[in-house]
């Protein structure tokens, strides 16, 4: 396997930098997007994550990893934080950090769960809950002429959909298909009744038969990723074309 080319030299990527909050955007009742200005940011690829470190007055620190939700854009780094019940870091970031406040941030991290603009072949994205975040960075990095993308996004109920309006707009563009899967409660009149992800949800409507097989990116809680990856293997996707990223039950 070749060494993966990722932005930033090693020393640049492991340096802790000041990251100042410039904007906060509520996404759902429990998720919020933070736009940070990071001095000297070396850039990143869609799918990569960063480490965020908080320091208390007595020197105690807490560090967690968060996926970046938008493609590279100068010194701007966007994170979407899902509040974890009782989460030491996520609740502070979601509720305590004010515009103008700073945290420490380093990265980018991870050269495996990435989509490189220009990478050949179609893409199948499978998201469970806040697992949409790194996949959204990939969708947002698409340009005219990019290969076809398909997103299957599993949520418990309609109010849990992050990036709802933007996903609707993206779904209206060429070569992108967005399918929502509701596991507990579907919207009124939905063709698909509520229920957990099944193999049929992962079949593409347009069909990639005869063309290149897609690269699959699966992100979500452990149980979801295990089950979705098994479904994909069962549908004939080669295991080495399925890339997974998991948020543990106690995860970030």
């Amino acid at each position: 396997m070749a060494r993966a080319a990722v932005p930033g030299g090693l020393s640049a990527r492991r340096a802790w930098r000041d990251a100042t909050l410039v904007e906060r955007r509520p996404e759902t009742d429990s998720a919020v997007t933070l736009v940070l200005d990071v001095d000297g940011w070396p850039g990143h690829l869609p799918g990569q994550h960063v480490d965020v470190r908080l320091t208390a007055p007595d020197g105690y620190t807490a560090t967690r990893s968060y996926s970046v939700s938008a493609p590279e854009h100068g010194d701007r780094v966007e994170l979407t934080i899902q509040r974890v019940p009782d989460g030491e870091v996520s609740t502070f970031l979601a509720d305590g950090l004010a515009v103008g406040d700073a945290v420490r941030l380093r990265g980018p991290v991870g050269g495996w769960f990435v989509w490189r603009p220009g990478q050949a072949g179609p893409v199948l994205l499978v998201a469970g809950g806040s697992g949409i975040v790194p996949l959204m960075a990939m969708l947002r990095a698409r340009v005219a002429g990019s290969p076809p993308f398909r997103l299957v996004y599993s949520v418990r109920e309609p109010d849990d959909v992050i990036y709802r309006d933007e996903l609707a707009a993206i779904a209206a563009t060429d070569d992108v298909e967005v399918r929502l899967v509701h596991t507990r409660r579907a919207p009124e009149g939905a063709a698909r009744p509520a229920g957990r992800l099944q193999g049929t949800d992962l079949l593409t409507a347009t069909g990639w038969d005869g063309g290149d097989p897609p690269t699959c990116y699966v992100c979500g809680p452990t149980g979801f990723v295990e089950s979705a990856a098994d479904l994909l293997v069962g549908l004939g996707h080669a295991a080495d074309r399925i890339r997974t990223e998991r948020f543990g039950p106690s995860g970030p």
Binding site: T55, A102, W112, A239, T244
Partner: protein
């Protein structure tokens, strides 16, 4: 000391001395893998050890089960910052597996079903520091946690404890594994916070 994050207090301290720097405690057992869980059954399972001069040793599942096993209780530390204390594992010591292997190698590249690899100095697999584990908490090791058998090297970050182990390549020179090629540390000592290359 780092600059203070305005308004951040954090959890009450009472910090456990068994927790390496930058780690937090979890009671769950999170799963981290790069791809799908490979299906591996006991019938077709085989472990190989290959030395630098091409000699190859293999064990079937019944042969592994016939070796003396031991139970250990250890703390494990994941590079994604969770630690889990007092986890109980049962398996065969690498000292037992490698007892009759003649080698001058200094490094090991561990291979897994599914294609995953990770590299370690051979000495970190010896002297009671590493187990080929097939049971966790009294039960067969579940597939998502690396069953039928995984490496357990608890003094290093947990990605070194490769799941679904199928072979150990003994090498004269270090050769980076899967995550190590992607920027993670070659050694991975949690007490020195060796998370990424250069740490």
């Amino acid at each position: 000391m780092d600059f203070v994050t305005r308004g951040f207090q954090g959890r009450p301290r009472g910090r456990d001395e068994r927790l390496p720097p930058g780690q937090y405690l979890t009671d769950d057992f999170p799963v981290l893998s790069a791809g799908p869980t490979p299906p591996v059954d006991h019938d077709g399972w085989e472990l190989w050890v290959a030395t630098e001069d091409g000699a190859r040793h293999t064990w079937s599942w019944p042969e592994l089960m016939a070796l003396p096993a031991e139970t250990v209780t250890v703390d494990i530390h994941c590079v994604t910052s969770w630690s889990k204390l007092d986890t109980e594992w049962r398996g065969v010591s690498l000292d037992t597996l490698l007892a009759d292997v003649e080698t001058a190698a200094d490094f090991a590249l561990v291979h897994s079903y599914g294609g995953y690899t990770t590299n370690l100095p051979l000495e970190d697999l010896l002297d009671g520091q590493a187990l080929l584990a097939f049971a966790y908490d009294g039960d067969d090791l579940r597939p998502e946690h690396g069953g039928p058998a995984r490496l357990l090297v608890p003094h290093l970050y947990f990605w070194k404890s490769a799941k679904w182990v199928r072979g150990i390549e003994l090498l004269l020179a270090d050769s980076p594994g899967f995550w190590e090629q992607l920027g993670y540390h070659d050694y991975g000592d949690p007490w020195r916070e060796q998370r990424y290359q250069g740490d």
